[in-house]
């Protein structure tokens, strides 16, 4: 799809003049002097006094009210501003962008057409209308209009770039090459333009040239995932097959080609809204550690969509990250009541309740999976017990409604463990293990739990899986020394000790394990010697 390529921006190589419409009507030539200006003014005055000035095209209002309230609010704001200044292209432009950015192509096209009447020599308006036409599903109509823009505004690089991409989709490499050449003639430094040129080379089978261009592009634009993907492909075609190629391909897959843009198009991103967009923003803010900002964004979204459990889910997590534990627990409780069969809601609730329980037991608790809860006052214990109880119930629901999701069972196991129900914890953890048999976290917990349950063999099996997945984890190798030694497998314990030594021979845990192993070996030897049944 060509959709939404405008969301990413071209580095404005020649942005100083690119914002000026490229085929603007030329002004009066130097030397014609003030006389001409005055004459022109007189003529204009005469004309304006005789002919009533043409009113600006009417404002496009949204007739379909069945749209996201967040979008509706954004559009309404721009409609109000445009109604106050219907002849102002800047204001009308924002309204058109508000429609366009939010997928409302029909009114966007109408507004762009209106702008085309207000500023007929600006290529951006017919170009954007063409893009909207494509977005709305009329690919043929949009393509024809893009072609018309290139004919009327032959120096307008965005249209040539778009045309090149269309030709690429159609498989017409020669036409794509011709179009990208025109684009690069107008903007020779454009990175998206160069990327498309490299794409064409790659499709033509000239991987070496593609590599040369793409290495330059990715050095200049390290975040251009599409260019990185193409570079990975180009490397592959030149016979390279290593971890770098894999990283380039996996990071870049799914990214769309950046568009050569008119710098004014960058305004559009700021006007985009809607439920999905705001939730994504909230999640991105949480991930960036900006929990307070995430709370603000998600609370606004929740006001527009008061029954949306997905917003509640993310808002609860944002509040928890912001330190508002009561707010987080209250929000996730509401989410669980709103969407009672959604395992994610119960899963997050269980996790939050577990965290609250641990915090009640000990504000400094590290949350170690198998560690016994630290000492606390009776009141704290009671508070924690209630949290763990809720976590257990939520974990149970998460496992019921999300039976294929290992985290549901894992969290249920954690809650059961905290509640002292070790057999239940083991049973839940075994279900998680069935789904992800080689997951280090699950197996580590299984090791700790079965050790606690005195099932050394199961503990050993789990730990062996952990070291298979994480062969450089010193602590796991040390644990393996202890576990094998406990099962009197001294050779195995010694082998594990060697692995631990290879990682860090001077680590206190390694030294301690070596001493313990020696002691146990000696004790076993002595006990064997003293055994009445020994020969």
């Amino acid at each position: 799809m060509l959709s939404r390529m405008h969301q990413q921006t071209d580095s404005p190589a020649i942005s100083s003049h690119a914002s000026i419409p490229e085929t603007r009507t030329p002004g009066p030539r130097r030397g014609t002097g003030a006389a001409l200006s005055c004459a022109l003014a007189v003529v204009l005055l005469a004309v304006s006094s005789c002919t009533p000035s043409k009113p600006p095209p009417p404002i496009t209002r949204l007739s379909n009210l069945d749209v996201d309230p967040l979008i509706l609010a954004r559009v309404d704001e721009e409609v109000r501003k445009a109604a106050d200044a219907p002849g102002n292209p800047k204001v009308r432009c924002r309204l058109a962008y508000a429609y366009d950015a939010n997928g409302l192509e029909e009114p966007a096209i109408t507004e762009y057409r209106a702008l085309g009447k207000i500023a007929p020599n600006d290529p951006l308006w017919p170009y954007r209308a063409a893009i909207c036409l494509i977005e709305s599903g009329n690919a043929a109509g949009g393509r024809a209009e893009i072609v018309a823009v290139t004919e009327r505004f032959p120096n307008f690089a965005p249209a040539w770039h778009r045309l090149a991409l269309i030709h690429l989709e159609e498989g017409d490499l020669a036409a794509a090459r011709a179009a990208i050449d025109r684009c690069l003639a107008s903007r020779p430094l454009s990175l998206p333009g160069k990327t498309t040129l490299a794409d064409i080379h790659l499709r033509e089978g000239d991987a070496e040239r593609a590599v040369s261009i793409l290495e330059d592009v990715t050095r200049a634009a390290t975040d251009d995932r599409h260019a990185r993907f193409l570079l990975g492909r180009a490397y592959q075609r030149t016979g390279r097959d290593d971890a770098v190629v894999e990283v380039l391909l996996s990071e870049g897959a799914g990214a769309v080609a950046r568009a050569v843009e008119d710098p004014r198009e960058q305004t559009m991103a700021g006007l985009q809204t809607g439920l999905a967009r705001e939730v994504d923003r909230g999640i991105a803010l949480i991930q960036a550690g900006r929990a307070a900002d995430a709370v603000r964004v998600l609370e606004a979204a929740l006001r527009a969509h008061p029954n949306d459990s997905n917003i509640m889910l993310n808002l609860a997590q944002a509040r928890a990250q912001a330190g508002d534990t009561p707010g987080a627990l209250s929000m996730i409780k509401t989410a669980a009541e709103t969407d009672s069969k959604n395992f994610r809601v119960h899963l997050v609730r269980a996790i939050l309740e577990l965290g609250a329980g641990d915090a009640a037991m000990n504000p400094k608790a590290t949350g170690s999976l198998g560690a016994p809860p630290p000492a606390a006052s009776d009141a704290d214990r009671e508070k924690a017990r209630k949290h763990y109880e809720t976590a257990l119930a939520s974990g149970s629901r998460a496992a019921r409604f999300g039976p294929k999701e290992w985290r549901s069972h894992f969290t249920y196991a954690r809650a059961a463990h905290r509640s002292g129900q070790l057999d239940l914890a083991r049973s839940a953890l075994e279900k998680a293990q069935q789904i992800v048999p080689n997951d280090a976290e699950v197996n580590q917990f299984m090791f700790e739990l079965t050790w606690q349950l005195n099932d050394r063999k199961a503990a050993l099996a789990a730990l062996e899986r952990v070291v298979a997945v994480n062969p450089n984890n010193l602590v796991s190798w040390v644990n393996l020394v202890h576990t094998r030694a406990a099962l009197e497998d001294f050779e195995g314990a010694a082998a594990a000790l060697e692995r631990a030594r290879a990682i860090d021979p001077g680590h206190p845990r390694v030294i301690g394990a070596a001493e313990k192993l020696d002691t146990l070996r000696a004790a076993a030897g002595s006990s064997q010697t003293n055994s009445p049944r020994s020969p």
Partner: protein
């Protein structure tokens, strides 16, 4: 306790060497040829003559698909369901038709959800034998896979549902027994296509079943398209990609080994599936077409262990790096270099994609083969490569139908309908034939599953298409247009008498060498004619026939007569082909 009776069916086919077994006269041979302008070469194909005729009503294939869609509440299975299998369930030498019905997503256990089995009477007409055959398999049906699962000489059926799946065991007496409890292989989510294959090379068929999204009726979402209002959600709206399922056949019971073999390590929105030895290491691999997530190419890197190599192989995303909406899939050797290429059908505004195997990776060769631009305005589902004009190369049919309503020019009767497409292989490219889809009037519907086979026994390939909330389409190949072209067809069976899955049949006729792989499981939610069908053009004889069995050994067979069906049974050939070693 259900007791299953597996009847051993006596091998009655005369199978010594390569014996013609075609006792049926073509059923349409008497029809006078119309003036089509078709010549004897592919260049002579008239661009507007219909190659197929709609004959479902005429022959009694009266299946009417019901998705259960109700505009007040839309469920995602409704927009992607509808599979079909072509199988000879009664072992009488002709193809019968099994149609998978939808129903109503939340409450499918009603009569409206009964699947339908149509028996081929042998004269080109069909009768509905669902009830007497016990083949209704109630449940909200998605698709099916037909194969001789228990190796008793008759074809069984596995039905994938939105909910628990159903195993129909053929009892050898014209009836089926629902034996899901005994055979296992249930995957109670929203499963889609299924494919039998013997991944562990132990002589019995294992099963792969794709799962679309983690869905239950209660978890269904309500989606509003910004442009067209209330409509079906896209799979990624659910944010619930799942692992697909692999079941190992352990002595007749199918045990889930998805995690054990490593296939739980990648999740996607699985729809289409095809198996084959994609890396040519002698072990069978799997390819899963995912809708809106990376496709998965599961290489069996060591016996019983699969690794996902979609991205590195170049098949996870298209050449632009874009994730596409994979629906149907086929694995065929398009360029004649003996490896399996992959072709996927996709969503509107994406092209369908041809991944050509090349030196250890796959190259997106869609445009080079002329398969790009023509598919962009369509949403493709069922598909098949077959030689409809008997000129010795593989052509292509794609069943299309939208998943989202258009914004403008919404058809009053069915907002999702689209025209189907028939492509002719011109040697170096494919080109769309007119009338679209090869029939006149063209088939315009919300088409989903499509299966390919010679239903009327005249040697050419016909097409059956399931149309969502519409009548089944039976596109009968108009044989009379091909009177000067020859054909040959083979039933390829292993030592047990079952179809020899993944055997490769290669023939030489005139200056043309052609190969077919025995594998009915491709397209979308569907099973095809398991026989190997070859068009011979004007060649009047075949000079060699070689079968490479799934274990890599090769066996030559005496050149058979043309314009006939034959059996190729392992161990009955004339020995190893000259110069070939196992």
């Amino acid at each position: 306790m259900i007791r299953i009776q597996f009847f051993l069916v006596a091998m009655i086919t005369v199978t010594i060497g390569c014996t013609p077994s075609d006792s049926k006269a073509p059923t349409k041979g008497a029809t006078p040829p119309e003036s089509t302008g078709s010549g004897s070469s592919s260049e002579g194909l008239a661009s507007t003559s219909p190659w197929f005729e709609e004959a479902a009503a005429e022959v009694g294939l009266d299946f009417q698909h019901v998705s259960g869609a109700d505009r007040s509440k839309l469920y995602i299975p409704e927009i992607v369901c509808g599979g079909v299998a072509l199988l000879d369930y009664d072992n009488d030498g002709d193809l019968d038709v099994y149609c998978v019905q939808g129903g109503r997503a939340p409450s499918p256990q009603v009569e409206a959800s009964a699947n339908h089995l149509y028996r081929n009477r042998g004269d080109g007409t069909f009768e509905d034998v669902t009830q007497e055959a016990g083949a209704a398999a109630l449940g909200y049906g998605m698709g099916c896979a037909a194969n001789d699962v228990d190796r008793d000489g008759d074809i069984d059926i596995y039905v994938s549902n939105a909910g628990s799946n159903v195993f129909l065991v053929n009892q050898g007496n014209g009836t089926f027994l629902e034996a899901s409890d005994v055979l296992g292989a249930d995957a109670p989510g929203l499963t889609a296509s299924a494919a039998f294959f013997d991944y562990d090379a132990d002589g019995d068929l294992d099963l792969c079943v794709t799962e679309y999204v983690g869905w239950t009726p209660s978890s269904d979402l309500s989606c509003t398209a910004t442009r067209s209002g209330h409509d079906y959600c896209q799979p990624n709206n659910y944010q619930a990609p799942t692992a697909d399922h692999l079941f190992r056949n352990d002595g007749g019971r199918f045990v889930e080994v998805t995690a054990e073999v490593g296939m739980s390590n990648a999740k996607g929105n699985g729809l289409g599936v095809v198996s084959g030895d994609f890396d040519r290491d002698g072990r069978l691999d799997l390819f899963i077409a995912n809708d809106g997530t990376h496709n998965h190419l599961w290489y069996q890197t060591e016996p019983g262990k699969f690794e996902e190599r979609g991205l590195r192989s170049g098949t996870a995303v298209n050449q632009s790096g874009r994730v596409e909406a994979g629906m149907g899939v086929a694995a065929v050797d398009i360029d004649g270099d003996e490896d399996l290429d992959l072709f996927l059908s996709h969503l509107l505004q994406e092209s369908n994609t041809l991944y050509l195997a090349k030196d250890g990776y796959y190259e997106d060769a869609t445009d080079r083969y002329g398969l790009g631009g023509s598919s962009i305005p369509h949403t493709g589902f069922g598909l098949g490569f077959f030689d409809f004009d008997l000129d010795g190369d593989l052509d292509l049919f794609i069943a299309n139908g939208r998943v989202m309503q258009p914004i403008e020019n919404v058809p009053a009767n069915d907002p999702y309908q689209e025209e189907n497409l028939l492509y002719e292989n011109t040697g170096s490219k494919f080109r769309v034939l007119e009338p679209k889809g090869g029939s006149s009037p063209p088939l315009i519907a919300t088409s989903r599953g499509a299966a390919f086979g010679d239903l009327d026994g005249d040697g050419d390939t016909d097409i059956v298409v399931i149309n969502r909330d519409g009548a089944l389409s039976y596109l009968r190949n108009r044989r009379e247009q091909l009177s000067d072209r020859h054909w040959v067809m083979f039933e390829v069976r292993d030592g047990t008498g079952a179809f020899a899955q993944h055997a490769r049949v290669t023939i030489q006729a005139g200056d043309k060498q052609q190969t077919r792989v025995i594998d009915p499981h491709s397209s979308y939610l569907s099973s095809n004619d398991p026989r190997a069908a070859f068009g011979l053009g004007e060649a009047t004889s075949i000079t060699s026939v070689t079968v490479r069995w799934a274990d890599g050994t090769e066996e030559g067979f005496a050149p058979p007569a043309i314009d006939a069906r034959h059996s190729l049974v392992r161990g009955t050939g004339v020995g190893k082909p000259p110069g070939k070693q196992p």
